[in-house]
């Protein structure tokens, strides 16, 4: 780029460059902030930090390691924003690594209106979380319960045989949160279908 000969033009070219860079930096900062959640989630999934469970694995592991038995404990709570009763069928079960197992949770809507919930899983200890693979889970989708409705919610999982030998017990914990947007959407649909006159 040839420097302009007019000093005034040089200054304003310089100013334009600074403004351009400053705007670029602002845009970059905005996109970085916006992408923080995906970045953080991916980081947690790769490292198992924060109890995020392993990827959904469709294929059966080759080997079931019958020499080891791991106790899997279940825990279920619903967030104060969601008036549901939510609990596991059994408190704990013993499984072999590599074995496909399933467990049931029960949920009941105690409220007078239809509510949509979203379960968020967490696995403790952290080192175990990347070896805990769910093949099917009620937490993959939104769950809708009519007033008073009860439902069994299954989860199927495999513990990777590579799980460190030090892990004897794994806890799978779910918290059910209210999905406000989906609940509002459902309420709107209901009011249309239930009272066509209004």
């Amino acid at each position: 780029m040839n420097p302009p000969t007019d000093p005034q033009a040089a200054v304003s070219a310089n100013n334009r460059r600074v403004v351009k860079r400053a705007l670029l930096a602002c845009a970059g900062a905005f996109f970085f902030c916006f992408s923080l959640i995906p970045i953080y989630t991916i980081y947690c999934e790769i490292t198992g930090v924060n109890g995020k469970t392993g990827q959904i694995s469709g294929e059966q592991p080759v080997l079931v390691d019958t020499s080891r038995t791991i106790t899997v404990q279940f825990d279920g709570t619903s967030h104060s924003s969601l008036p549901w009763q939510f609990k596991p069928e059994v408190r704990e079960m013993k499984v072999h690594p590599g074995e496909l197992s399933s467990a049931l949770f029960y949920a009941q809507n105690l409220d007078k209106q239809t509510l949509v919930g979203q379960a968020v899983p967490s696995v403790a200890p952290n080192v175990a979380s990347i070896y805990f693979n769910k093949t099917e889970c009620f937490c993959f989708t939104e769950q809708l319960l009519e007033p008073g409705e009860q439902r069994e919610m299954p989860v199927r999982f495999v513990i990777d045989p590579d799980i460190p030998a030090s892990v004897k017990t794994v806890t799978l914990s779910y918290t059910f949160f209210l999905n406000e947007l989906a609940t509002q959407r459902v309420a709107k649909e209901h009011s249309v279908t239930d009272n066509p006159a209004s």
């Binding site: 902030c33 923080l36 959640i37 924060n50 924003s81 979203q118 999905n179």
Partner: protein, 547 residues
């Protein structure tokens, strides 16, 4: 923390033009006037924040709920922190930087004087916005009051507030803009405007600590802005950055917040280290021991401050490896900090010390800040932290490093440079009263809180078990004593700055003072060092200038 010379004194130096009051103070581009404005603003905020602290201590005077509603109590703890951190401590340091850095490096003014004006005048608007919901509620009964979720603004709690969330967040944005502009100004001034012969490693330590602080500010204030913007969109625009139901994560807020928050801690203490490194050699009449070690220790602390943030959230459920890393990294900070403390002690070792008020505050700083440092080391130990977390032990710890650390250094700096700024000596007897009353009462106030915390009293709760009654009573007595003692400080400042009462100060003010600022008259001319000063190494600050 505040002063300015009477109009007459200043106007003498206005050779060619007179300014109206409005032009001089509202449109000022003069580093001394803007420094004065910053310091006065900080003094006002110090008393507002202090009043909130007294509301807290009055409520905690005896067990039970008596004076204020719990919701209002929560607003007091939240606003006390925000006002003290962003309104009192940070503007005071920026004010000191404004006044002293150009005079210390032999520059005529700050490098970017109009931006300097802007960065100050944003602050009154920012704090009006921050305080508005609280003022409306407390004095006019309008609205639901200020933010009450703690100054750390953790979601989901902080998002359960009303519209005050928006007020707080926009106020924080404005404070961030102000801080970043102030920091850019300090860096530009120090790197571009030093007089010939003022090498970087001949600068006073205060300039060095501020240079490093300025880089910290530029690095972390945008992080805070990002974090609070995400809070804003979560609250008002239906995003789910920190909402687990929508796929976000509230723990991520804590990581982002403390990535800002820990360097922020050092933003509030590094300039204090600089101030104490100026004052102790003056009254010890000896050069600072280990000048270069001081500079490198400051830089190491600044670097380490970026890799220890998670020690604020040990109990959040981190992997063991993470807890160990953050524990050891935190403990590592004790090494450069220890270097500093030993350097100050070595400077005083076998020196001819006298104990004027600035020196008293500086020595008080070294001793009491070190107590805060030790309790910080205790908190760094992961297994112990599970007991200490969110108790009064933490409250005691950070008040020892902030009140007897940062605030003491600001008071030391005020006494040290007040005669230079105003041209009159402050009242030494009153200064000593202020120091001794403050030091006794601040320990009565905060030392019992260590015991309360170890016994398990949680912070930010308006009521407590009767088992904690005695120490809370003692602590509250200390709080009122300390608060009243600060009125002496305000009176001393008013005497010097507004009434011009006191003996005429000499140019050197102190027997052992060294550095370019002491070569100017007291008070200094409105525009100083219009031509670069000739530097004699022996006039320079108490550094190692022989290399």
């Amino acid at each position: 923390m505040a002063e300015h010379a009477t109009h007459d004194t200043h106007d003498e130096h206005h050779d060619d033009h007179q300014q109206s009051f409005f032009m001089r103070w509202f449109c000022s581009t003069n580093h001394k006037d803007i420094g004065t404005l910053y310091l006065l603003f900080s003094l006002v905020m110090f008393f507002i924040g202090g009043f909130m602290a007294l509301v807290i201590r009055a409520e905690l005077f005896v067990p039970g709920l008596q004076l204020v509603h719990p919701e209002f109590f929560n607003q007091m703890t939240t606003m006390h922190a925000l006002v003290m951190i962003f309104g009192a401590v940070m503007p005071a340091f920026v004010g000191l930087a404004n006044w002293m850095i150009p005079m210390m490096v032999g520059a005529p003014d700050m490098a970017l004087p109009r931006m300097n004006n802007w960065s100050f005048w944003i602050l009154p608007f920012a704090f009006t916005m921050l305080l508005l919901p609280l003022i409306q509620y407390a004095f006019f009964g309008v609205g639901a009051g200020g933010p009450a979720g703690g100054w750390t603004l953790y979601p989901p709690l902080s998002l359960q507030g009303g519209n005050n969330v928006a007020f707080t967040i926009f106020a924080i944005h404005m404070m961030g803009v102000s801080s970043i502009m102030g920091a850019i100004n300090v860096i530009a001034t120090i790197l571009n405007m030093r007089a010939p012969g003022m090498d970087l490693l001949k600068m006073p330590v205060f300039c060095w600590t501020w240079l490093i602080t300025a880089f910290l500010l530029i690095a972390v204030m945008p992080v805070l802005a990002g974090a609070v913007t995400m809070l804003l969109t979560d609250k008002f625009f239906l995003t789910s950055f920190f909402n687990a139901a929508g796929g976000g994560d509230p723990v991520m807020f804590q990581h982002i917040f403390w990535f800002f928050g820990h360097p922020e801690v050092y933003i509030m203490i590094l300039p204090a280290f600089g101030i104490v490194s100026e004052i102790i050699p003056t009254f010890a009449r000896k050069p600072l021991f280990g000048y270069q070690a001081m500079v490198y220790a400051t830089a190491s602390i600044a670097f380490l401050s970026f890799i220890v943030w998670a020690h604020h959230m040990f109990t959040v459920g981190m992997p063991l490896g993470g807890e160990l890393f953050f524990m050891y990294a935190t403990m590592l900070i004790a090494v450069p900090t220890g270097v500093k403390v030993f350097n100050w002690v070595s400077t005083m070792w076998k020196s001819s010390m006298t104990f004027e008020t600035p020196m008293l505050f500086a020595v008080g700083f070294v001793i009491l800040f070190t107590i805060g440092g030790f309790s910080g080391l205790m908190l760094a130990i992961v297994p112990a932290d599970f007991q200490y977390h969110d108790t009064y032990f933490v409250v005691a710890h950070f008040h020892y490093v902030l009140v007897t650390g940062a605030i003491y250094s600001i008071m030391a700096a005020t006494y040290y440079w007040l005669p230079k700024w105003t041209g009159v000596m402050y009242n030494e007897a009153l200064g000593k009263w202020h120091f001794w009353l403050s030091t006794i009462f601040v320990n009565v106030l905060f030392f019992p809180q260590h015991f309360l915390g170890l016994a398990g009293m949680p912070r930010r709760i308006p009521d407590y078990n009767v088992a904690f009654a005695d120490f809370n009573l003692i602590s509250s007595i200390g709080a009122f004593g300390f608060g009243l003692a600060q009125l002496i400080f305000a009176w001393i400042v008013i005497q010097c700055a507004f009434l011009g009462r006191g003996a005429k100060a000499t140019d050197h003010v102190w027997e052992g003072s060294k550095g370019l600022e002491w070569t100017l008259s007291s008070p200094p001319p409105h525009h100083s060092f219009s031509t670069p000063p000739v530097i004699n190494d022996k006039d320079l600050a108490h550094g190692d200038v022989t290399h």
